[in-house]
Amino acid sequence: MKVDQILNDGTLCALSLFLILIWAGVKFRLYAPPRWDGETAAATLLRLACGFLLAGASLDKLGDAAGFLGLMKECYFFVPDPIQPLTAVVIPWLEFFTGLCLVSGFRWRAAALVFCGLMAVYTLAISWDVLHGIDCSCGCFSKDAGEKMTGWTVLRDLLFLAMGSILLVSRRTFAALDRLND
Protein backbone atom coordinates (compact mmCIF):
# COMPACT_ATOMS: atom_id res chain seq x y z
CA MET A 1 0.00 0.00 0.00
CA LYS A 2 1.37 3.42 -0.97
CA VAL A 3 1.94 6.28 1.48
CA ASP A 4 -0.63 8.54 -0.18
CA GLN A 5 -3.23 5.79 0.14
CA ILE A 6 -2.57 5.50 3.87
CA LEU A 7 -2.48 9.25 4.41
CA ASN A 8 -5.96 9.91 3.04
CA ASP A 9 -8.30 12.63 4.31
CA GLY A 10 -9.88 10.41 6.96
CA THR A 11 -6.55 9.29 8.41
CA LEU A 12 -5.21 12.83 8.47
CA CYS A 13 -8.40 14.07 10.17
CA ALA A 14 -8.04 11.36 12.82
CA LEU A 15 -4.34 12.16 13.31
CA SER A 16 -4.99 15.90 13.64
CA LEU A 17 -7.83 15.30 16.08
CA PHE A 18 -5.64 12.96 18.10
CA LEU A 19 -2.88 15.58 18.39
CA ILE A 20 -5.37 18.30 19.33
CA LEU A 21 -6.88 16.03 21.99
CA ILE A 22 -3.43 15.32 23.45
CA TRP A 23 -2.81 19.04 23.65
CA ALA A 24 -6.25 19.70 25.18
CA GLY A 25 -5.77 16.92 27.71
CA VAL A 26 -2.55 18.44 28.94
CA LYS A 27 -3.70 22.04 28.70
CA PHE A 28 -6.92 21.54 30.65
CA ARG A 29 -5.33 19.09 33.07
CA LEU A 30 -7.52 16.16 32.12
CA TYR A 31 -4.47 14.16 32.94
CA ALA A 32 -1.16 15.27 34.38
CA PRO A 33 1.98 14.03 32.73
CA PRO A 34 4.55 13.14 35.36
CA ARG A 35 7.68 15.26 35.86
CA TRP A 36 7.93 16.83 32.45
CA ASP A 37 6.22 19.86 30.95
CA GLY A 38 3.35 18.21 29.10
CA GLU A 39 2.02 21.38 27.47
CA THR A 40 5.37 22.11 25.87
CA ALA A 41 5.72 18.52 24.74
CA ALA A 42 2.26 18.63 23.14
CA ALA A 43 3.13 21.89 21.40
CA THR A 44 6.36 20.32 20.15
CA LEU A 45 4.39 17.40 18.75
CA LEU A 46 2.04 19.81 16.97
CA ARG A 47 4.98 21.83 15.63
CA LEU A 48 6.66 18.76 14.17
CA ALA A 49 3.40 17.41 12.74
CA CYS A 50 2.57 20.74 11.05
CA GLY A 51 6.13 21.05 9.74
CA PHE A 52 6.33 17.58 8.25
CA LEU A 53 2.84 17.93 6.77
CA LEU A 54 3.62 21.20 5.04
CA ALA A 55 7.11 20.29 3.84
CA GLY A 56 5.83 16.91 2.63
CA ALA A 57 2.93 18.55 0.81
CA SER A 58 5.29 20.84 -1.09
CA LEU A 59 7.70 18.19 -2.40
CA ASP A 60 5.62 17.00 -5.36
CA LYS A 61 5.01 20.57 -6.54
CA LEU A 62 8.47 22.11 -6.13
CA GLY A 63 9.90 21.14 -9.50
CA ASP A 64 6.71 21.23 -11.53
CA ALA A 65 5.33 24.74 -11.51
CA ALA A 66 3.81 24.16 -14.97
CA GLY A 67 1.76 21.22 -13.72
CA PHE A 68 0.64 23.13 -10.63
CA LEU A 69 -0.27 26.11 -12.81
CA GLY A 70 -2.35 23.83 -15.05
CA LEU A 71 -4.16 22.47 -12.01
CA MET A 72 -4.76 25.98 -10.72
CA LYS A 73 -6.23 27.10 -14.05
CA GLU A 74 -8.69 24.23 -13.98
CA CYS A 75 -9.53 23.85 -10.32
CA TYR A 76 -8.80 27.21 -8.71
CA PHE A 77 -9.71 29.46 -11.59
CA PHE A 78 -11.02 32.14 -9.23
CA VAL A 79 -7.37 33.09 -8.62
CA PRO A 80 -6.90 36.15 -10.86
CA ASP A 81 -5.12 35.33 -14.14
CA PRO A 82 -2.25 37.83 -13.72
CA ILE A 83 -1.07 36.32 -10.43
CA GLN A 84 -1.60 32.65 -11.28
CA PRO A 85 1.96 31.94 -12.57
CA LEU A 86 3.59 33.72 -9.64
CA THR A 87 1.33 31.90 -7.19
CA ALA A 88 2.16 28.54 -8.80
CA VAL A 89 5.87 29.27 -8.37
CA VAL A 90 5.81 30.81 -4.88
CA ILE A 91 3.28 28.67 -2.97
CA PRO A 92 5.24 25.36 -3.05
CA TRP A 93 8.45 27.06 -1.89
CA LEU A 94 6.59 28.99 0.81
CA GLU A 95 5.15 25.68 2.02
CA PHE A 96 8.60 24.10 1.94
CA PHE A 97 10.42 26.83 3.88
CA THR A 98 7.57 27.20 6.36
CA GLY A 99 7.63 23.44 6.94
CA LEU A 100 11.39 23.56 7.36
CA CYS A 101 11.13 26.37 9.95
CA LEU A 102 8.49 24.42 11.88
CA VAL A 103 10.50 21.20 11.90
CA SER A 104 13.74 22.91 12.90
CA GLY A 105 12.09 25.33 15.29
CA PHE A 106 13.72 28.37 13.71
CA ARG A 107 11.24 31.27 13.99
CA TRP A 108 8.59 28.65 14.60
CA ARG A 109 5.95 31.11 15.78
CA ALA A 110 6.20 33.13 12.56
CA ALA A 111 6.09 29.88 10.60
CA ALA A 112 2.97 28.89 12.56
CA LEU A 113 1.38 32.19 11.53
CA VAL A 114 2.17 31.51 7.85
CA PHE A 115 0.87 27.95 8.30
CA CYS A 116 -2.42 29.32 9.66
CA GLY A 117 -2.66 31.80 6.78
CA LEU A 118 -2.06 29.09 4.19
CA MET A 119 -4.59 26.75 5.79
CA ALA A 120 -7.20 29.51 5.98
CA VAL A 121 -6.74 30.27 2.27
CA TYR A 122 -6.80 26.57 1.31
CA THR A 123 -9.93 25.97 3.38
CA LEU A 124 -11.74 28.84 1.67
CA ALA A 125 -10.58 27.78 -1.80
CA ILE A 126 -11.52 24.12 -1.35
CA SER A 127 -14.85 25.03 0.26
CA TRP A 128 -15.66 27.19 -2.74
CA ASP A 129 -14.91 24.34 -5.14
CA VAL A 130 -16.84 21.79 -3.06
CA LEU A 131 -19.85 24.08 -2.72
CA HIS A 132 -19.86 24.72 -6.48
CA GLY A 133 -19.59 21.01 -7.22
CA ILE A 134 -16.31 21.31 -9.09
CA ASP A 135 -15.02 17.79 -9.62
CA CYS A 136 -11.32 18.40 -9.43
CA SER A 137 -8.07 17.30 -7.86
CA CYS A 138 -7.18 19.06 -4.62
CA GLY A 139 -3.46 19.35 -5.42
CA CYS A 140 -2.78 19.49 -1.69
CA PHE A 141 -0.20 16.73 -1.33
CA SER A 142 0.35 15.90 -4.99
CA LYS A 143 -0.92 16.82 -8.42
CA ASP A 144 -2.46 13.38 -8.89
CA ALA A 145 -6.06 13.14 -9.93
CA GLY A 146 -6.79 10.79 -7.04
CA GLU A 147 -6.94 13.65 -4.53
CA LYS A 148 -10.62 14.50 -4.89
CA MET A 149 -12.00 17.45 -2.99
CA THR A 150 -14.80 16.54 -0.58
CA GLY A 151 -16.23 17.73 2.70
CA TRP A 152 -13.56 15.61 4.39
CA THR A 153 -10.86 17.70 2.72
CA VAL A 154 -12.44 20.87 4.15
CA LEU A 155 -12.67 19.29 7.60
CA ARG A 156 -9.06 18.13 7.35
CA ASP A 157 -7.85 21.63 6.53
CA LEU A 158 -9.96 23.09 9.37
CA LEU A 159 -8.28 20.68 11.78
CA PHE A 160 -4.87 21.67 10.39
CA LEU A 161 -5.86 25.29 10.95
CA ALA A 162 -6.80 24.45 14.54
CA MET A 163 -3.41 22.77 15.03
CA GLY A 164 -1.60 25.81 13.66
CA SER A 165 -3.63 28.19 15.84
CA ILE A 166 -2.87 26.19 18.98
CA LEU A 167 0.81 26.18 18.08
CA LEU A 168 0.72 29.93 17.44
CA VAL A 169 -0.42 30.71 20.98
CA SER A 170 1.75 28.07 22.64
CA ARG A 171 4.34 29.41 25.06
CA ARG A 172 7.31 27.30 24.09
CA THR A 173 8.36 24.11 22.38
CA PHE A 174 11.19 21.69 22.95
CA ALA A 175 14.13 21.18 20.60
CA ALA A 176 13.63 24.46 18.77
CA LEU A 177 16.52 26.26 17.11
CA ASP A 178 14.91 29.56 17.91
CA ARG A 179 15.69 30.08 21.59
CA LEU A 180 14.47 33.67 21.62
CA ASN A 181 10.84 32.66 21.82
CA ASP A 182 11.36 29.93 24.38
Binding site: I83, V89, R171
Partner: protein, 213 residues
Protein backbone atom coordinates in the same frame (compact mmCIF):
# COMPACT_ATOMS: atom_id res chain seq x y z
CA UNK B 1 -6.76 33.69 36.45
CA UNK B 2 -4.02 32.09 34.45
CA UNK B 3 -2.37 34.43 31.94
CA UNK B 4 -3.08 33.70 28.31
CA UNK B 5 0.48 34.23 27.17
CA UNK B 6 3.48 34.34 29.42
CA UNK B 7 6.63 32.77 28.04
CA UNK B 8 8.61 32.69 31.26
CA UNK B 9 5.77 31.98 33.63
CA UNK B 10 6.30 28.95 35.78
CA UNK B 11 3.17 29.52 37.85
CA UNK B 12 0.20 31.80 37.59
CA UNK B 13 1.11 33.72 40.75
CA UNK B 14 4.60 34.57 39.56
CA UNK B 15 3.53 35.32 36.04
CA UNK B 16 3.96 38.78 34.72
CA UNK B 17 1.53 39.17 31.86
CA UNK B 18 3.51 39.38 28.65
CA UNK B 19 1.60 40.50 25.60
CA UNK B 20 1.57 38.17 22.61
CA UNK B 21 4.44 39.31 20.34
CA UNK B 22 2.15 39.95 17.40
CA UNK B 23 4.27 42.65 15.76
CA UNK B 24 7.46 40.63 15.98
CA UNK B 25 5.75 37.44 14.78
CA UNK B 26 4.03 39.21 11.88
CA UNK B 27 7.36 40.82 10.90
CA UNK B 28 9.14 37.47 10.91
CA UNK B 29 6.28 35.87 8.98
CA UNK B 30 6.59 38.61 6.37
CA UNK B 31 10.36 37.99 6.18
CA UNK B 32 9.69 34.29 5.65
CA UNK B 33 7.21 35.07 2.89
CA UNK B 34 9.57 37.50 1.13
CA UNK B 35 12.51 35.09 1.39
CA UNK B 36 10.43 32.20 0.01
CA UNK B 37 9.05 34.32 -2.84
CA UNK B 38 12.52 35.62 -3.73
CA UNK B 39 14.02 32.13 -3.67
CA UNK B 40 11.11 30.71 -5.70
CA UNK B 41 11.42 33.34 -8.43
CA UNK B 42 15.19 32.89 -8.58
CA UNK B 43 14.86 29.11 -8.74
CA UNK B 44 12.23 29.39 -11.46
CA UNK B 45 14.47 31.69 -13.50
CA UNK B 46 17.32 29.16 -13.62
CA UNK B 47 15.33 25.93 -13.51
CA UNK B 48 15.06 24.09 -16.81
CA UNK B 49 11.31 23.54 -16.40
CA UNK B 50 10.64 27.05 -15.09
CA UNK B 51 7.54 28.88 -16.29
CA UNK B 52 6.90 32.32 -17.74
CA UNK B 53 5.92 34.60 -14.86
CA UNK B 54 4.82 37.54 -16.93
CA UNK B 55 1.10 37.62 -17.52
CA UNK B 56 0.20 37.58 -21.19
CA UNK B 57 -3.38 38.55 -21.83
CA UNK B 58 -5.22 36.70 -24.58
CA UNK B 59 -4.71 38.58 -27.81
CA UNK B 60 -7.44 38.42 -30.42
CA UNK B 61 -6.33 39.72 -33.77
CA UNK B 62 -9.52 38.91 -35.62
CA UNK B 63 -7.73 36.26 -37.61
CA UNK B 64 -6.10 33.01 -36.66
CA UNK B 65 -2.38 32.58 -37.18
CA UNK B 66 -3.19 30.87 -40.50
CA UNK B 67 -4.82 34.05 -41.68
CA UNK B 68 -7.87 32.34 -43.13
CA UNK B 69 -10.17 31.24 -40.35
CA UNK B 70 -11.78 33.97 -38.25
CA UNK B 71 -11.26 33.55 -34.53
CA UNK B 72 -14.40 33.18 -32.43
CA UNK B 73 -14.78 36.08 -30.03
CA UNK B 74 -16.31 35.22 -26.70
CA UNK B 75 -19.40 37.31 -26.28
CA UNK B 76 -20.32 37.14 -29.96
CA UNK B 77 -21.84 34.28 -31.84
CA UNK B 78 -22.21 33.71 -35.50
CA UNK B 79 -25.35 31.89 -36.69
CA UNK B 80 -23.33 28.81 -37.57
CA UNK B 81 -21.38 28.60 -34.37
CA UNK B 82 -22.33 27.14 -31.02
CA UNK B 83 -23.29 29.31 -28.09
CA UNK B 84 -20.31 31.35 -26.85
CA UNK B 85 -20.83 29.76 -23.46
CA UNK B 86 -20.29 26.33 -24.95
CA UNK B 87 -17.48 27.17 -27.34
CA UNK B 88 -14.33 28.79 -26.03
CA UNK B 89 -12.49 31.38 -28.07
CA UNK B 90 -9.13 30.18 -29.31
CA UNK B 91 -6.28 32.40 -28.13
CA UNK B 92 -3.91 33.37 -30.92
CA UNK B 93 -0.38 32.31 -30.02
CA UNK B 94 1.98 35.21 -29.46
CA UNK B 95 4.91 35.39 -31.88
CA UNK B 96 8.06 33.74 -30.62
CA UNK B 97 6.30 32.04 -27.74
CA UNK B 98 8.02 28.66 -27.17
CA UNK B 99 4.92 26.75 -26.11
CA UNK B 100 1.74 28.54 -27.07
CA UNK B 101 -0.50 25.51 -26.63
CA UNK B 102 -2.90 25.29 -23.72
CA UNK B 103 -1.79 22.79 -21.12
CA UNK B 104 -4.10 20.28 -19.50
CA UNK B 105 -3.77 18.37 -16.26
CA UNK B 106 -4.72 14.71 -15.94
CA UNK B 107 -8.15 15.70 -14.58
CA UNK B 108 -8.86 17.90 -17.57
CA UNK B 109 -7.90 15.13 -19.98
CA UNK B 110 -10.02 12.60 -18.08
CA UNK B 111 -13.06 14.87 -18.24
CA UNK B 112 -12.67 15.23 -22.02
CA UNK B 113 -11.92 11.53 -22.37
CA UNK B 114 -15.17 10.65 -20.54
CA UNK B 115 -17.18 13.03 -22.70
CA UNK B 116 -15.42 11.71 -25.83
CA UNK B 117 -15.18 15.31 -26.92
CA UNK B 118 -11.60 15.16 -28.18
CA UNK B 119 -9.03 13.18 -30.14
CA UNK B 120 -6.01 12.00 -28.15
CA UNK B 121 -2.63 11.55 -29.80
CA UNK B 122 0.18 9.51 -28.28
CA UNK B 123 3.46 11.16 -29.32
CA UNK B 124 5.73 8.41 -28.01
CA UNK B 125 7.54 5.72 -29.99
CA UNK B 126 5.33 3.06 -31.63
CA UNK B 127 6.86 0.37 -29.38
CA UNK B 128 5.97 2.37 -26.26
CA UNK B 129 2.49 3.01 -27.65
CA UNK B 130 1.96 -0.73 -28.15
CA UNK B 131 3.09 -1.46 -24.61
CA UNK B 132 0.27 0.72 -23.29
CA UNK B 133 -1.64 3.90 -24.10
CA UNK B 134 -4.84 5.81 -23.38
CA UNK B 135 -7.76 3.91 -24.95
CA UNK B 136 -8.67 5.40 -28.31
CA UNK B 137 -5.43 7.36 -28.62
CA UNK B 138 -3.77 7.41 -32.04
CA UNK B 139 -0.01 7.01 -32.34
CA UNK B 140 1.75 10.04 -33.84
CA UNK B 141 5.46 9.75 -33.02
CA UNK B 142 6.72 13.31 -32.50
CA UNK B 143 10.21 12.71 -33.91
CA UNK B 144 8.88 11.45 -37.27
CA UNK B 145 6.00 13.74 -38.21
CA UNK B 146 6.60 13.29 -41.95
CA UNK B 147 5.98 9.54 -41.56
CA UNK B 148 3.03 9.68 -39.17
CA UNK B 149 1.17 12.75 -40.49
CA UNK B 150 -0.13 10.97 -43.65
CA UNK B 151 -1.34 8.09 -41.47
CA UNK B 152 -3.04 10.12 -38.75
CA UNK B 153 -4.26 13.34 -40.35
CA UNK B 154 -6.74 11.66 -42.75
CA UNK B 155 -8.44 10.32 -39.62
CA UNK B 156 -8.86 13.91 -38.38
CA UNK B 157 -10.91 15.66 -41.07
CA UNK B 158 -12.36 18.30 -38.72
CA UNK B 159 -9.57 20.84 -38.20
CA UNK B 160 -11.41 22.61 -35.40
CA UNK B 161 -11.77 19.41 -33.36
CA UNK B 162 -10.09 19.44 -29.95
CA UNK B 163 -6.87 17.43 -30.12
CA UNK B 164 -4.77 16.52 -27.09
CA UNK B 165 -1.17 15.34 -27.47
CA UNK B 166 0.80 13.60 -24.76
CA UNK B 167 4.13 11.87 -24.28
CA UNK B 168 6.24 11.00 -21.21
CA UNK B 169 5.31 14.12 -19.24
CA UNK B 170 7.85 16.40 -17.54
CA UNK B 171 10.54 17.57 -19.97
CA UNK B 172 9.27 15.49 -22.90
CA UNK B 173 9.06 17.56 -26.10
CA UNK B 174 7.44 14.96 -28.37
CA UNK B 175 3.90 16.18 -27.70
CA UNK B 176 5.01 19.73 -28.42
CA UNK B 177 6.45 18.62 -31.78
CA UNK B 178 3.18 16.90 -32.65
CA UNK B 179 1.22 19.99 -31.65
CA UNK B 180 3.42 22.17 -33.86
CA UNK B 181 3.02 19.77 -36.81
CA UNK B 182 -0.75 19.86 -36.39
CA UNK B 183 -0.80 23.61 -36.07
CA UNK B 184 1.20 23.94 -39.28
CA UNK B 185 -1.33 21.65 -40.97
CA UNK B 186 -4.10 24.02 -39.96
CA UNK B 187 -5.53 22.41 -36.83
CA UNK B 188 -6.78 25.17 -34.58
CA UNK B 189 -7.57 23.50 -31.27
CA UNK B 190 -4.48 21.60 -30.15
CA UNK B 191 -3.65 21.13 -26.47
CA UNK B 192 -0.92 19.39 -24.51
CA UNK B 193 -1.41 16.96 -21.65
CA UNK B 194 1.48 18.09 -19.46
CA UNK B 195 1.67 15.09 -17.13
CA UNK B 196 1.43 12.64 -20.03
CA UNK B 197 1.52 8.88 -19.77
CA UNK B 198 3.09 8.73 -16.23
CA UNK B 199 0.29 10.87 -14.73
CA UNK B 200 -2.41 8.89 -16.52
CA UNK B 201 -1.00 5.60 -15.22
CA UNK B 202 -0.48 6.99 -11.73
CA UNK B 203 -4.11 8.10 -11.60
CA UNK B 204 -5.22 4.53 -12.33
CA UNK B 205 -7.28 5.48 -15.38
CA UNK B 206 -8.02 2.91 -18.10
CA UNK B 207 -5.21 1.88 -20.39
CA UNK B 208 -5.02 -0.40 -23.38
CA UNK B 209 -2.25 -2.34 -25.10
CA UNK B 210 -1.48 -3.06 -28.72
CA UNK B 211 -3.00 -1.13 -31.59
CA UNK B 212 -6.53 0.23 -31.33
CA UNK B 213 -8.93 -1.17 -33.95
Amino acid sequence: MKPKYSPKASSSSAAALTPFPLKKTAGQAWDLFVFSAFFAVLFNAFYVAGIELKFKPKVFTGQSDRGSTPVTYSGFSSPASDSPLQKKATPTPLPGEPNPFPRLSVMGVKQRFDKKSCVILDARKPEEYQEGHIPGALNFYGNEPEKFAPLVMPQLPDKSKEIIAYCHGGDCDLSLQVARALQEAGYTHVEIFTGGWPDWQKAGYPVTKGVDP
